[in-house]
Symmetry: C2
């Protein structure tokens, strides 16, 4: 492996000069600068990042901990984050906590040990409930999940409003018995539940709610169980996430129920498949690319200005009406 001293020798300068050229700080004459750069190229020298990090205490690595890598919502957000990072020459350490607080803790510890510049995290409910800013030695931005009382930088959807508007849309379609399947393990699920309940309360209707694990399989199961236990099928079934929505649609098919004729369907996240099923599906779309981009920019701002006030950035969902809730 070629080290900085090799470059220095080759260029006929000291290691300090080479370092200055590489880091771009301090002043170096144009002539020696070019000589150094030539030597770097000639020897194919690459600084050891571990050494650099140890010495300078700085990193250009960001951490990203998502709660489910298989959820297209998170891959879209990740991609947006990585695009920005790549454009700035930064690295992203992407980890999948899998909705498991232990795994989340493991990766959070790892981020600290790696001395990353900052972390973007979609927290488990467990972490959110006992969140204290002092527990984190690095700048942290929350995405997707955050409640009003949490004192942290965050980028989230206006979940209550979004769920409320989605539910109102179904009420306008004359649905009275609207069953809401939501992920009970996340703050997002409960907030969307609250929005749903608010809309029903406005209409003076009673809620039908079913907590599920935020997976397609569990949602399908839950719907099956529900349908088998109740003689009367609901007017509409609503999912608090794209993965759950997929489970509901699978479940309806299994039970031979057609939509929108037998039951209306709607949910969150404008996933590709919602457009190609027949009929296509009404969804509350999230601006995933915006969310990712905003999150990393918020993080970089926090890194640059550690003292600035906490900001919670709330995005508005977009209702996309399709065949599954056709009049």
């Amino acid at each position: 492996m070629t080290r900085i001293s090799d470059v220095a020798k080759h260029a006929g300068v000291s290691v300090a000069t080479v370092s200055r050229v590489l880091v771009g700080q301090g002043s170096v004459s144009e002539a020696t600068r070019e000589r150094v750069l030539a030597s770097v190229k000639a020897l194919d020298y690459h600084p050891d990042l571990a050494a650099r990090r140890l010495r300078s205490g700085k990193t250009d690595t960001l951490g990203l901990i998502v709660s489910d890598i298989r959820n297209p919502y998170f891959t879209e957000v990740s991609r947006a984050i990585e695009d920005v990072a790549y454009a700035r020459g930064m690295r992203v350490l992407l980890c999948n906590a899998d909705e498991d607080p232990a795994k989340e803790r493991f990766y959070l510890d790892m981020m600290r040990d790696e001395n990353v510049a900052g972390v973007i995290l979609s927290p488990t409910l467990s972490l959110l409930n006992q969140y204290r800013a002092e527990d984190f030695s690095f700048p942290l931005v929350l995405v997707d999940r955050c409640d009003a009382k949490t004192e942290a930088d965050a980028v989230v959807l206006d979940n209550i409003d979004a769920a409320q508007r989605l539910t109102r849309h179904l009420l306008e379609r004359n649905c009275r018995r609207i069953a809401f399947f939501y992920g009970a393990a996340s703050a997002t699920g409960s907030q969307r539940l609250a929005g749903y309940q608010a809309a029903l309360a406005e209409a003076g209707l009673s809620a039908i709610t079913q907590p599920v694990k935020p997976t397609t399989d569990d949602a399908r199961q839950a719907l099956s169980t529900y349908l088998e236990r109740h003689r009367q099928t609901p007017d509409a079934v609503v999912a608090s996430s794209g993965l759950i929505l997929l489970g509901l649609v699978e479940g309806l098919r299994q039970h031979g129920l057609r939509y929108p004729q037998d039951v209306i369907v709607a949910g969150f996240d404008d996933m590709p498949w919602t457009r190609i099923v027949t009929p296509d599906i009404t969804v509350m779309a999230q601006p995933t690319a915006d969310i990712g981009r905003t999150a990393i920019e918020l993080l970089l701002a926090r890194i640059a200005q550690p003292g600035q006030a906490m900001r919670r950035i709330v995005m508005r969902g977009e209702l996309i009406v399709r065949g599954s809730s056709a009049a």
Copy 2:
């Protein structure tokens, strides 16, 4: 930040002893061992990974470079890899090259600079074509893409066989004009093309092939263009990947073509949505979890035994016949 010297002072021993306890090498009396461990816990000490890496030259970080993070195939594979890594206490640095050779190079360089223990990569065609084992300073395992002449550890599907079996299935359904839409940018696409062609040759039929970018949007476009240019619709359309398959189904819907009545549809990758569309879709499924698990195990074996012979592990696809190719 608490350092190893703090722990040493707290436990009343030297830094060397603390290090020995932590690394688990050299001999330490049980009594002092426990005392050190108690101090570590009391001070909440965590070794600085950068320093450790610099000194020891070793890492327990693995790199994973996928070519498209939004492709469910890769997220499934990633998850399997990360599960194994997590179980062994290792980290995974996951990056998204986005089918871009420049980005791929950037991340590969980064892996080298980070001194990762090894890398799992789904290479671009560009990299594969000029692949030389000597170019990589770290153990490397290829996934999803690799041709027979590449001298590298790899885990891939038997693409030729898989495409051939899928095509034969369509021939058995009496399809004669079978259009094959394939990702031209990857080795995988061309191999599947070869399998398709082989099956057609067996039957004495001529091929209809359409290279596309491996994205849903491009596939939809390509199908539209094809349909508009040719009066006669093909008997069947086949996609060389799940993303392309989605584009074909979208395109058929746009053009008001029903399947399997107007045209039969099939493709690769058993994605969740292929089960819920009506009719559901015949696919060649890949054992994604197995592929991921095998890849990381192959990498770990290579790290442990740098001298062992290169291995290419070829997996068999599973044909899942569904409604889109119903008789």
